[in-house]
Structures are given as structure tokens and as C-alpha cells.
Amino acid sequence: MDNIEKNLLMQVADMDGVPEGAYNIRSNGKLAGRQSTANIEITSKEDKPGIDIRIKPGTKHESMHIPVVMTESGMNDLVYNDFYVGDDADVLIIAGCGINNCGHQTSQHDGIHTFWVGKNARVKYVEKHYGEGDGDGARVLNPETVIHLEENSYMEMVSVQIKGVDSTIRNTVGDLADGATLIISEKIMTHEDQVAETNFTVDMNGVDCHADVVSRSVARGNSKQIFNSSINGNNRCTGHSECDAIIMDNAHVVARPALEANDIEASLIHEAAIGKIAGEQIIKLETLGLTEQEAEEQIISGFLK
């Protein structure tokens, strides 16, 4: 693995060398390293590209890394990763994709991740997307995440895309059984002519299930962002979604939140705000000795923290 790939791994998975626990590293469409553990088994799919990850019931406090890096310009990589999380397990899964495109052709990675989270299991899933490279070829990432939560299970998904991805369509769908909880936190920053579209659909089917979808984004330059969320309460449940965007320069931001209650006991809330950085915020930080540019950077980095 060369230094460019190592840097991408650091950016998307905070990996500095071989991680602890289970891992599967995919580089330019090929397997670059894999390790299963006694409780987490990773196997290649036979019918299509991708892997199956089987986490034994009761597995506690284990982590796994499944990063993807791409450095070949013009590559189009599609991968299916299925996660079977056993009942009562408690695991951390770190995914992410980094593209370095130094060429003229588009490099694209579409990762389709499906989670079956067993009863009472807890999963924290962190997914970072990052692009770099001097070439004028586009860096495209279209992740799709499908989440099935069984009774009383809990999943927290943290999705971050801060830099270098020219085009992305991010689809996330989830369905929740009785007592299940889904927490989604998304952070996006787009620059120049980048385009980012996010679509969340959550079906709260079980009694007393709960979903919380929070998106914070910063749109700069001529970039475009579209946020669609659909929170459907089909039983006695609570749902909350929040979309908060800072718009700068000539950017364009669309937020289309939708709530659908199909049960009288469904309690759903949505909050949405789009606006520029408040002048008073900049002034306050200037009175602490920051320049206007430093103040802006501080406000944005805090907002996306």
C-alpha cells in the first residue's frame, strides 16, 4: 500500500497501520487485507462483489473497520456489504471511502450497505467520505444504507463528508420494530461546483420505537445541496428530524422534510433552518482577536464538529 492509500485510510477510517479487531480493506476494487475474529466473521460474496459480515450474538465492545480506497482514475466500483448483527451484540463499525483521482476520468464508488440488527443489539456505524487529487476527473460516491432494526435494538449512524467529493447521492432507509431506536447524524460540506443529495426514509413500524435524524451542512462556492427526509410514524412512536444548513457564496440549498403520521399515537417533529453565518457571530469572534476569515472557519468547524 502506497502513501496516498495510507493517507486515504487515515482520512476515512483514522487508520494508522493495521487496526485492532476485524477488518476488510478494499483497494481499487480488490481485497487488500482482511481479518476475522472469533466473534466477527467476514466472507466474500459469491454472487456479486462485496462481503458478508456476521457478528455473533452477545459480542460485546468489539470494533471492525471496512474502508475502501480508490486511486485509479476512471474506476467504477460497486460493492454490496451485508451486516448481520446478532442479538444482544454491542459493536462499533467504521466504514468510509476515500478517492484520490489524479486523472481525467470519473472515479466512482457505490457502496450498498445493509444492516440486520438483532434484538437488543447496539451498533454504532461511522461512515466518512473523502476525495482528493489533482486531476480534473470527478470523484463520485453514492452510498446506500439499508437498516432493519429488530425489537429493542439501537443503531447510531454517523455520516461525514467534508471534502473533495464532487457528486454524491446518499440514500438511507430504515425500518424499526418495537422499542427500536435509530439515530442518524449527518455532516456535509460542499465546495466549488459539488453536488450532494441526501435522502432519508425511516419507517417507524413498532410500538415505542424512536428515530432521530439530524443533518448539519455547509454549502460554499457554487455547490448545490438537496436534503429530503421522510419520517413515517406507523405506530405509537416518536420521531424527530432536523436539517440545519449554512449557506455561503453562490451556493444553493434545498431542504424538503416530510413527516407522515399513520397512527394517532405517533409524535413527530421537524426543524429546518437555512441561513448565512450571522454577522454578530463573526463580530463577536473578532472582538476576541480573530480575523474575519478565522472567525468564519471557527464557526464552520464548530458547526460541523
Binding site: 448539519r216 440545519d244 450571522a278 454578530e280 457571530q281 463580530i283 463577536k284 469572534l285 473578532e286 472582538t287 476576541l288 482577536g289 480573530l290 480575523t291 474575519e292 471557527q298 464557526i299 468547524s301 464548530g302 458547526f303 460541523l304 464538529k305
Partner: protein, 243 residues
């Protein structure tokens, strides 16, 4: 330390008419505790903002430690040693109390130091350091954080715009103590805009600003009795009329 020479500020209103918010203000503020008071809308906050560099005067010059700072930015004035606590503190989604204290006091601020600044304004640091400075903080909590940031900066000139607004009685008693201690510690000037008699009563000097001009200026002993008499008389007149 701070000298204002012939400071005026005029703005053009929506109707097209020009309005003078500050009219030919001359003030000299030394290393002491000065309180600016006067009726609402008289120009007190505008003057504080002119000193901090947020508004540019349309005439006159400002000198800080002998240096003409009239054309200097807010940032440069802050770096020279001017702190300004807002009347209405700003909220920041994502930035924590610790982030702001560090920005005020410097990156190397230890946890213990940050805790000490917060304790001075009656905030229990353990509960607050990691809190986001967003809607979850009350107006009073924000106000105290604003004051803590000025304490943390410890600059030669600290300006507070109506620090008592939104502060409850318990905090108010502590606020007075904070100003007294700060005055001893920083060996510089404290400039407070206030209507509060308790704050006026600890001032070295009092400046009364009304209709954009300095209407009176002098030591506490010279100014405070007349202010209190005026308000007493006004109150008695009002009561007579009501009764």
C-alpha cells in the same frame, strides 16, 4: 488610556433623513472604573460599539494608549487590548463553552483555568464546559459566559454593555464582586454601560449620555447624588399623578 475626540456618528434612516446618533463626544477614560449611564436610546451602546470598532464614526478620532485606532479593525483593536461583552450575547451552534473560553483566553488554557473563569461568574464548570453555546443555554447563562470571556481575556480595557440585563438577583450580587475583583486584578480600565444604581455606586467616574451627547461627566460623588435625586423626583411626580 482611551481618548475620544469629537466623535460623531450619523446614519441615514429609511425615510432618507439623516440622524445623528452621537454628537461631538469628547471623553477621556483612564485606568479606572467608569460607568456610562443615561436614558434608553441616548447612544450609550452605540458609543461602546464605536470604541470596539463595530461602528465607524463619521467624524472624530479615537486614541488608545496614544495610538490612533479610528481606522483599525475590530480584530486589531481586540489584539491591542480592548474587550467587549455584548448586551445580547451571540449563540453558536456547535461551539462549546470551553471553545469560547479558549478563544478568549488563548489556546493553551488549561481545564483548571477555564473552570476558574466560569466559577467567577457563578457557573459550575463541570456542568458547562462541554455545553454547546446554543438555544439550550438561558439568557442569564449566556450573559455570564460573556462576562467570563472578558475576565479570561484580561485586557487593558474591558467594556461591558448592560451586564446586569437578564442576570438574576443572586448573580447580580456576585456581578458587583466580579467587577470589583477585576478592577483590582487587571490594572486597567473597566467601562460599563449600566442603569443600575448598585453598579453606579462602585464607579470611580460616571458619564451621562443623553440624545447622543455627554450631558454630564465627573466623579461618582459629583454625579451620582444628582442622578438619584432626579429619579426620586421623577418617581414622586409619577406617583402623585397616578394617585
Amino acid at each position: 488610556m482611551l481618548e475620544l475626540k469629537n466623535i460623531s456618528l450619523a446614519v441615514t434612516e429609511d425615510s432618507g433623513q439623516e440622524k445623528e446618533l452621537l454628537k461631538d463626544i469628547n471623553l477621556s477614560i483612564g485606568d479606572c472604573f467608569t460607568v456610562i449611564t443615561g436614558p434608553n436610546g441616548g447612544g450609550k451602546s452605540t458609543l461602546a460599539r464605536v470604541i470596539a470598532g463595530i461602528y465607524k464614526p463619521t467624524a472624530g478620532r479615537i486614541f488608545f494608549d496614544g495610538v490612533d485606532i479610528t481606522d483599525m479593525s475590530i480584530t486589531d483593536r481586540a489584539k491591542m487590548g480592548i474587550s467587549f461583552a455584548f448586551q445580547q450575547p451571540v449563540r453558536f451552534k456547535g461551539l462549546t463553552v470551553m471553545d469560547l473560553i479558549k478563544l478568549a483566553a488563548g489556546k493553551d488554557t488549561s481545564l483548571a483555568q477555564a473552570c476558574a473563569y466560569l466559577s467567577e461568574v457563578g457557573l459550575c464548570a463541570k456542568d458547562y464546559l462541554n455545553r454547546e453555546v446554543n438555544d439550550s443555554l438561558s439568557g442569564g447563562e449566556l450573559k455570564r459566559l460573556e462576562i467570563a470571556m472578558n475576565i479570561a481575556r484580561g485586557t487593558k480595557l474591558s467594556i461591558f454593555d448592560e451586564p446586569e440585563a437578564g442576570i438574576d438577583l443572586w448573580s447580580f450580587n456576585n456581578l458587583i464582586r466580579v467587577f470589583e475583583q477585576m478592577h483590582e486584578k487587571i490594572n486597567g480600565a473597566i467601562l460599563i454601560i449600566s442603569h443600575q444604581e448598585r453598579i453606579l455606586s462602585i464607579a470611580d467616574r460616571i458619564v451621562v449620555i443623553s440624545e447622543g451627547s455627554v450631558s454630564r461627566e465627573g466623579s461618582r460623588e459629583e454625579i451620582l447624588p444628582s442622578l438619584l435625586n432626579t429619579s426620586d423626583r421623577a418617581c414622586q411626580t409619577l406617583m402623585k399623578n397616578i394617585v
